[in-house]
């Protein structure tokens, strides 16, 4: 059998090893998602005071399991699959070191199993952050180290694939933007995972009583892993935005220079993200905080604001070039909302930007952090970014990976079509309610805000109960959406209808294939440009221009309202 197969949809030569590595990593990612999702349900039903399902000890254990499985195992295994896809598949190239690929995969799986064992047996009730001097079993730290070494190896492998592709002239011209974005994600991953090694190796030795670790230093370097890894997610997510846009509606790149510069800004400034978590810490002074928390004068925020324009603008322009020229938003009306890839893309951009982005930048302001730190506002923020943004985008691309890589039709396709709606709406309600509850000072990572048996019983405003109830309903809807995703992907991958090697699915109806495959956006012709109406004051992408201005207005409003709330407090400083 030839080591390559030809993709009937794209004509790309796909190395079978790349296929297998993508499948293996994606399957493990889904298993982690399932484990983390079950923990999510239990955590949610406990924080919902009306139910208070688990006992305290089990709650904190499940919260640890939820955090590790979602933020580390699910996301990073999926990103490993994305790295292989964006390099070997998109560049038409072989995987130069298959054995290394498998060794890395096994290392990551072994590390994961070690961590899972310590968590499930109650040997690591230290939550996701495992702040020293809270102590976990040494194998917890060792497991994370093995996992990080494996992931770092995949990152190195990714760089090798790109180098080989270039040397062997597997593609012409420059790297496609999606691969370029994945490249920046890999560069950030290298920095992040090094932070992980720098902090977890001493912590592992500390757990064996072989050295001391300063708690503040731990927080500083740990967040170099903890927050920077969210920036891998951001870069990977934005790369997938461009990818989904291309696959579903033929989104174009307005200007390569702008989009690529924005990606480079991520690489340059994202490692300062650690400081976000130390704004109200005693170890650092104000000038350090001001300088570092804003990611060097907000230059990484600038990058996200640029992508927040270029992705929808590319979508709009791509659709206008293909004839959707009516009015400001005719393109949105004609967009394929029934394509789970497209609806995921749209929700991912909107919720990430409007909820996750705005809250994140606001809470990440040195002084405003005083009214946000360790309250429910923080998980409210990051469920909007990493779940509604990154996980949503990953779910969207899955509906293309299943037919293109696994060569299977999507099972229960009609359920798959509504899945992004359930998940996005649920997460939107959940994260907004959570953020809102946090403005009342409701703490995060807390078993019982009824404070039974505590020294004193502070009583929250009655509004808090209602908001927590809304949060729970939103969370349950999202969990249903997540469960549908798992059922659809698992059934498709293992029992879905197989596609013949030459079956492109083109023009098919009634099969479990998204429209981007059965009816892909047509190739652009030079004369398409004439179809664009002479651009008015709002330019070639007027709809996007209006959308980003609404976004900016919301941003400015939320930001200054928070300064106002802060100014009402006691003087402190």
């Amino acid at each position: 059998m030839s080591p390559f197969r030809t993709c009937p949809t794209t004509g790309l030569q796909v190395h079978r090893t790349a296929d297998r590595l993508i499948k293996a990593n994606a399957v493990v990612a889904t298993v982690a998602l399932l484990v983390g999702g079950i923990a999510a349900l239990l955590v949610l039903l406990t924080r919902w005071e009306a139910v208070l399902l688990l006992e305290a000890e089990m709650f904190y254990r499940m919260l640890t399991i939820h955090g590790m499985n979602m933020l580390i195992f699910f996301i990073i295994f999926f990103e490993m699959a994305v790295l292989y896809f964006a390099s070997a598949v998109l560049l038409n190239c072989r995987v130069p070191a298959p054995k290394t690929g498998w060794v890395a995969f096994v290392l990551m799986v072994v590390g994961t199993l070690m961590v899972e064992w310590t968590m499930w047996t109650g040997r690591a009730d230290v939550l996701f952050t495992s702040y020293v001097p809270l102590r976990a079993h040494p194998l917890f730290y060792l497991g994370v180290i093995l996992f990080a070494v494996g992931a770092l190896t995949v990152v190195g492998h990714f760089f090798a694939i790109i180098t080989v592709a270039r040397r062997e002239k597997a593609y012409e011209g420059s790297l496609p933007l999606v691969t370029y974005g994945a490249l920046t994600a890999a560069a950030i991953a290298a920095v992040t995972l090094l932070h992980g090694a720098i902090i977890y190796i001493p912590t592992f030795l500390w757990s064996l009583d072989m050295m001391n670790v300063d708690p503040q230093m731990y927080r500083l370097i740990w967040w170099g892993l903890g927050h920077s890894s969210q920036q891998i997610n951001v870069a990977a997510m934005v790369a997938i935005w461009y990818l989904l846009g291309a696959l579903t509606v033929g989104a174009v790149v307005l200007n390569e220079k702008v989009s690529r510069t924005a990606f480079v800004l991520y690489v340059l400034f994202i490692s300062m993200a650690s400081a976000h978590h130390l704004l109200v810490d005693p170890g650092m002074g104000p000038s350090w905080k001001v300088w570092n928390t804003s990611y060097f004068m907000y230059m990484a925020v600038l990058a996200s604001m640029i992508h927040g324009f270029t992705v929808p603008a590319g979508t709009e322009l791509g659709m206008r070039l293909r004839g959707a020229t009516q009015g400001l938003f005719g393109w949105l009306k004609r967009a394929p909302w029934g394509d789970p890839g497209f609806s995921s893309l749209a929700f991912s951009i909107v919720v990430f930007g409007f909820v996750g982005g705005i809250t994140g930048v606001t809470f990440g302001t040195e002084q405003i952090n005083i009214i946000a730190h360790n309250t429910l506002r923080i998980p409210g923020h990051f469920h909007a970014t990493v779940v509604s943004g990154t996980a949503m985008a990953f779910m969207g691309i899955t509906y293309y990976v299943i037919p293109l890589i696994f060569r299977r039709e999507i099972a229960f396709y009609r359920l798959a079509k509504i899945q992004p709606y359930l998940f996005a709406i649920g997460m939107l309600i959940f994260s907004m309610a959570m953020t809102f509850a946090g403005t009342f000072g409701v703490p995060r990572r807390h078993w019982d805000i009824g404070f039974n048996q505590a020294f004193f019983q502070p009583e929250f405003s009655p509004a808090v109960n209602l908001i927590i109830g809304v949060m729970a309903v939103g969370g349950l809807i999202a969990i249903v959406g997540g469960a549908i995703y798992i059922v659809v992907t698992v059934v498709s991958v293992f029992f879905g209808k197989k596609m013949a090697p030459d079956d492109s699915g083109l023009g098919a109806t009634g099969r479990g294939l998204p429209p981007g495959i059965t009816n892909p956006p047509r190739a652009l012709k030079p004369e398409d440009k004439e179809a664009l109406k002479p651009s008015g004051r709002l330019g070639p992408v007027p709809g996007t221009m209006v959308l980003v201005l609404i976004f900016l207005a919301a941003f400015i409003l939320y930001y200054f309202v928070n300064w106002m709330l802060l100014s009402f407090l006691w003087e402190v400083g």
Binding site: Y131, R219, V253, E256, P282, E366, I370, N374
Partner: protein, 196 residues
């Protein structure tokens, strides 16, 4: 000719940027500068900053300092915890440990204090409810924050950093006595202290 993000562009992709895209980049840049400028500006003009007086402290020394503070100013007990009433302008020492905030503090409205926070064991979180003022409490570090309580009332200190199995039990109290009731209240508090 436009391309999608999955097609390799020509080698030289450094091209002129469209006018509207450029405008958005500059608007974003200007907004980022506003975001940045607000922080130093608030240090100059705003009343709420997390600067504080910060230094390292040995947990045992801090505990001794708290004990001394309690002995000096104790006026009573509440739920088994000592209640202290330090004079305006003084240093107030709050100790976080699994799973209590010690002591309960009585402050006067409008007076300035330096509130010291530190932990004897693991990380804790200082969350003042219902005001929603939050700080991280790290073992080995003394975080001295100058505070001016504006309004009278009973405020609770919740631990908002996971610190172990009894994390949710860890609630402390800060009482702010109104400026007008200070005189009467001080006498009453002294009586209370005498009773116990």
């Amino acid at each position: 000719m436009y391309r999608t993000g999955i097609e390799p562009p020509e080698r030289i992709w450094w091209k002129k940027v469209g006018r509207h895209e450029k405008v958005w980049v500059w608007i974003s840049f200007a907004w980022c500068m506003v975001l940045f400028a607000m922080m130093p500006l608030w240090h100059l003009r705003g009343g709420q900053n997390p600067s504080g007086i910060r230094h390292r402290v040995d947990p045992a020394d801090y505990q001794a300092r708290v004990l001394e503070f309690v002995q000096e100013y104790q006026v009573g007990t509440d739920n088994g915890l000592p209640v202290v009433e330090p004079p305006p302008g003084s240093d107030v020492y709050l100790q976080a440990s699994q799973f209590a905030w010690i002591p309960v503090v009585r402050l006067r409205q409008g007076a300035e204090y330096t509130l010291h926070l530190s932990s004897l064991d693991v990380n804790h979180g200082f969350g003042l409810y219902p005001l929603n003022i939050n700080f991280q409490v790290v073992p080995g570090y003394d975080y001295g924050l100058r505070i001016v309580p504006h309004e009278p009332g009973e405020f609770h200190v919740m631990c908002n950093e996971f610190c172990g199995i009894g994390h949710h039990l860890m609630v402390g109290k800060i009482i702010v006595v109104g400026a007008d009731e200070v005189a009467a209240d001080a006498g009453e508090a002294a009586d209370e202290g005498g009773d116990r």
